[in-house]
């Protein structure tokens, strides 16, 4: 579980946007549609409803706050540009937004890696203390609670593999090496784990 806990975050904003604490803000699809028509006010609402997750995920992957800001900026610009192409028949607004964000974040860490090896602060041994000291309970939402419960249905290796891939930005080949798995096995762990998570959460049927 601890591998999927976030590192510490800043103080919660007292006037945090409504809807930011639920995973399924109902009008996101409408905000995207209006954004696609260049409705800047709708996009501002969309930003308020989703920026905690977008920035939080970017920060989790790239780790450097300045770079996380840049990734967030890039992601929202792409979301604005392509909002009119969001297709509710192919997935939820959140999934669409976070897919764009995650890809930007992973591109960022991999391109940084190409010149200098990333300052890898991920150590499995660090995680338990993160787990203990992180006051993320402040932000714990019902949805997050549900996700944590679902994660418990995964094997330890599945959790670790997904965490390294999703939040670490590592390729499945790198994950295999990091977890001492035979080459080609990590991708299976990732897939099996995600399927189990999906089924436990009842999403994306």
């Amino acid at each position: 579980m601890e591998h999927l806990r976030p590192v510490s975050s800043g103080d919660p904003s007292p006037d945090g946007p409504p809807g930011a604490d639920t995973g399924l803000t109902p009008d996101l699809a409408d905000l995207l549609r209006r954004s696609g028509r260049a409705d800047e006010a709708a996009f501002a609402e969309l930003y308020d409803a989703t920026s905690r997750r977008v920035y939080g995920m970017a920060l989790r992957v790239v780790r450097d706050p300045a770079q996380a800001e840049e990734v967030t900026q890039e992601a929202f610009l792409e979301i604005w540009r392509t909002a009119g192409r969001f297709d509710a028949g192919k997935g939820s607004p959140y999934s669409w937004i976070l897919t764009i964000t995650h890809r930007k974040a992973v591109d960022r860490v991999r391109s940084a890696e190409a010149s200098t090896r990333r300052d890898t602060t991920y150590h499995q041994s660090d995680q338990p203390s993160d787990h203990d000291t992180t006051a993320e309970a402040v932000h714990a939402s019902l949805e997050a609670h549900r996700v944590r419960g679902a994660l418990k249905t995964l094997t330890e290796v599945q959790q670790e593999a997904i965490s390294l891939a999703y939040f670490g930005g590592y390729t499945h080949t790198e994950v295999a090496t990091m977890l001492d798995l035979p080459v080609g096995t990590a991708k299976t762990r990732i897939r099996d784990g995600l399927i189990r998570l999906r089924d436990a959460l009842g999403v994306g049927a």
Partner: protein, 244 residues
């Protein structure tokens, strides 16, 4: 490269962006043809996205103003409209378009197959309707290139749509172990991959990437799976020629 038997097993790693560039290009080709994998990837992305619940963090307040200032300078792309009219001839719209051919490389062409590329998350219908939108756009501009042996490639781009389409006829298959790869020439970035092209019957296919900012398009022959940057001289270059 993965074998056809285990390509489905990459869906999870693809959903969390855990494939390297070559694997991703290969899997996206598979996705274009496998509805099961598209559905699975979509569902796994839903699940993965929920992992971000626990990572949510307040961004710096100043970021909001920067993002909202950014968007005032960028025009949202239009939706992909489904159209039903028959295929337009892209060449009739071409005027003033130019191209360059690296003749030395053209000799690799000489058989009888064609090329196709589909974006992930798009089924063929969406892909084709998007392509038709580009071909029938008011500002569509085409550049055609004839190869020895009767093959022909036409790139049509629309700045207003920000998309480009390549129409190929009688394109021979690439050499063994190689693929054709499409590129968009982006100012300041150089050639940016617009997708690899598996051998297919004659088709009309959409390039990935922003064609509005591109100054041209190119085709190279790359090792199977594609490359992140061109590793060979282009067999064809299409100059959009109308950029500021």
């Amino acid at each position: 490269m993965t074998t056809p038997n285990d390509v489905h097993a990459l869906s999870g790693a693809y959903a969390v962006d855990a494939l390297d560039d070559i694997e991703r290009a290969g899997f996206e080709r598979h996705l274009a043809e496998c509805a099961d994998c598209r559905a699975e990837v979509a569902s796994l992305r839903e699940a993965a996205g929920l992992l971000a619940e626990d990572a949510a963090t307040d961004p710096p307040p100043a970021l909001r103003a920067r993002v909202l200032a950014d968007i005032t300078k960028v025009r949202p792309l239009p939706p992909e409209v489904v159209t039903v009219h028959p295929a337009a001839s892209p060449s009739r719209r071409g005027r003033g378009a130019r191209f360059l051919a690296a003749a030395a490389a053209v000799v690799v062409l000489g058989g009888g197959a064609t090329v196709a590329w589909q974006q992930p998350w798009q089924d063929g219908t969406t892909q084709q309707s998007a392509a038709q939108s580009v071909l029938s756009a008011d500002d569509a501009r085409s550049t055609s290139l004839d190869f020895p042996g009767g093959a022909k490639a036409t790139v049509t781009h629309s700045d207003s749509l920000g998309e480009a389409v390549i129409v190929t006829e009688k394109m021979p298959p690439p050499p063994d172990g190689k693929v054709y790869q499409l590129w968009l020439d982006q100012p300041g970035k150089g050639m940016v991959s617009a997708g690899t092209m598996p051998a297919k019957p004659d088709q009309t296919v959409l390039l990935t990437g922003d064609a509005a900012s591109a100054t041209g398009a190119g085709i190279t022959v790359e090792p199977e799976g594609g490359s992140t940057a061109p590793t060979s001289e282009p067999i064809a270059l299409f100059d959009f020629g109308d950029q500021a």
